[in-house]
Amino acid sequence: MSVTAKPVVAAPARDAIAAPAVAPHQLAAFVVMVVVLIAAPFFVYPVFLMKALCFALFACAFNLLIGYVGLLSFGHAAFLGSAGYASAHAAKVWGFPPELAIVFGTLTAGVLGALIGALTIRSRGIYFANITLAFAQMIFFFSLQAKFTGGEDGIQAVPRGTLLGVFDLRQTYTMYFVVLAVFLLGFLVVYRSIHSPFGQVLKAIRENEPRTTSLGYRPEHYKLIAFVISATLSGTAGATKAIVFQLASLTDVHWTMSGEVVLMTLLGGMGTVFGPVVGAFLVISLEHYLAQLGSWLTIAQGLIFVVCVLTFRRGAIGELGRLLRKPL
């Protein structure tokens, strides 16, 4: 990904930052992940897997912001949910084929991300968390009141459609492999953003922002770009989810959804490559198994937060990476 922001002062250092080669252990982990995901639907209920994949993408996108830029957004549900509504509306009312509906949803989230990002990126820490929450609440309110979103009903009976005029997405396995492809694409975009000169600058900003400024970079621009990428990919996750489940609802724009993605990323490992994926699968599985026990799910989620923050800050993959002494 080419870096378009120009430094204020000519900085020869920029060209000398080479994109690090793909580490072999990360490549191995990636291959394992792909193989497992290809085989999985034949052993596990595919609809469950599709849900986990959408959330895995959402968590990866979120991780870009918290893990690599160090900004905790408490309003990311706004991007997941609004892309879902956009894609559902496009597919159902305008008759878009699924691929265009997903693209439309993604673009909606991207535009929203650019707007909200521009307004919030100057804030930091708790203020950033609060102001992103505030905007997410406004999106929630809009989703509640607008006619086309259907309020409490949401947008229902969204057609799965036929991908590229050839693949009938009402077939579960076809839908699954499409979702897998979307997930892998998004995953690779996040990976490339991190392992690139752009990613290196982001890490520098997270480590020491004033120093980065003095080196001639404009952190605000980089942070904003990262925010927009994060928002856009969250949108892809939301748009795909709306097609898979044929429903876009208020749950996806509610602030507790923003809390869930934080949980997934924390549990999996903030700032790791594979952490969010693992975290998403773990949290979705937990939800699935504890669903019938009502409040126990909330208690379990709360305990995970507490334990992770106190003793398990690196998350599952983070700890695994530490054991292996290689970043994952």
């Binding site: 509640l144 309020g151 009903d153 044929q246 669903a291 019938q292 009502g294």
Partner: protein, 403 residues
Amino acid sequence: MTATRVLVLAAALLAAAVPAHAQISDGVIKIGIMNDQSGTYADLAGPGSVVAARMAIEDFGAAKKNMKVEVLVADHQNKPDVGSSIARQWFDADHVDVIVDVPTSSVVLAVNQIAREKNKALIVSTGATSDLTGPQCSPNAIHWTYDTWSLANGTGSAVVKTGGDTWFFLTADYKFGHDLERDTEAVVVKNGGKVVGKVRHPFPTADFSSFLLQAQASKAKVIGLANAGADTTNAIKQGAEFGIVKGGQQFAGLLVFLTDVHALGLEKAQGLLLTESFYWDLNDRTRAFSTKFAERHRQARPTMAQAGVYSAVLHYLKAVEALKSDDGPKVIAKMKELPTDDPVFGKGSVRADGRKIHPMYLFEVKKPSESKGPWDYYKVRATIPAEQAFRPMDQGNCPLVKK
């Protein structure tokens, strides 16, 4: 020719000899009770609906008739995405044949779609939306216990006729609230009343003081509560604080269940007018049923939602027995064919648009002095016969109804 005839006869005999089970999918009839098990609607339906379903299976005598019936339970948390996930999983992976109960209109509509897609059955007892027998009607679904139209019709017209001709609406700001307000307003106006004001409160709301002040200022004779659950009970409780009833105004609860009145207490709820399709103390049959229910469910009497589940499951099993199959739309069609009779609603029937019809009752909540004990809360003010209680079939825009 004789050989062919013998063959045909043999084949026919063989076919007749195939036991009834073989046409019931996997040999088991699986009934899925999906509702809110732990949230706002847990008391009016929740685990009580499961008790009611099990009672229906026993009373039907499934064991004696050699029919295997299983009950699955799930909590949809009043969210359409959770409800549709569960429905998908149940129909796809768990081979559930029929989903019963389903409070919360948004979940009803989502599950309705899925039942249609997967060719299974849905019987709604607690959910309210009259769209289920209107534009969203389906050959796979029946709306059993009540709906927004019948509530609006019952309470709205009865209240206007008893003198409550100016109305102020306190409406929950979501589709169900809007629908209830719309249906009731139409009835009020039709009966010669006037709507002098409305206010939409966010759903849910904890503090109604501001909205109650507006209702007081309007000087309407009746304050119509187009909301449900905690919103209704909060509004009534706080209304008592602000002296609404003492000031001469009356609350009309547009969707109130026995358990709401129980939670409020007669002190606060007295005088409230409401419409329901069942009350435990109506006649000997309902009393007998309710006593058995109370023994199995914390001494609480059944609400119309829970009683509806009993009635629905009973009739479903009768239809399956008669049809010797649990194929979704076929059973639904059979249920429409057979007349219903049970201790809950007495005699009734299911219309072509999927609407079960039975009488509705206008109740008034007793004063504390009039009540002989817990759960003795209602007195009957009017009975609306089955034919008049529900929206006429030709007004619903249901595609299944031949014009």
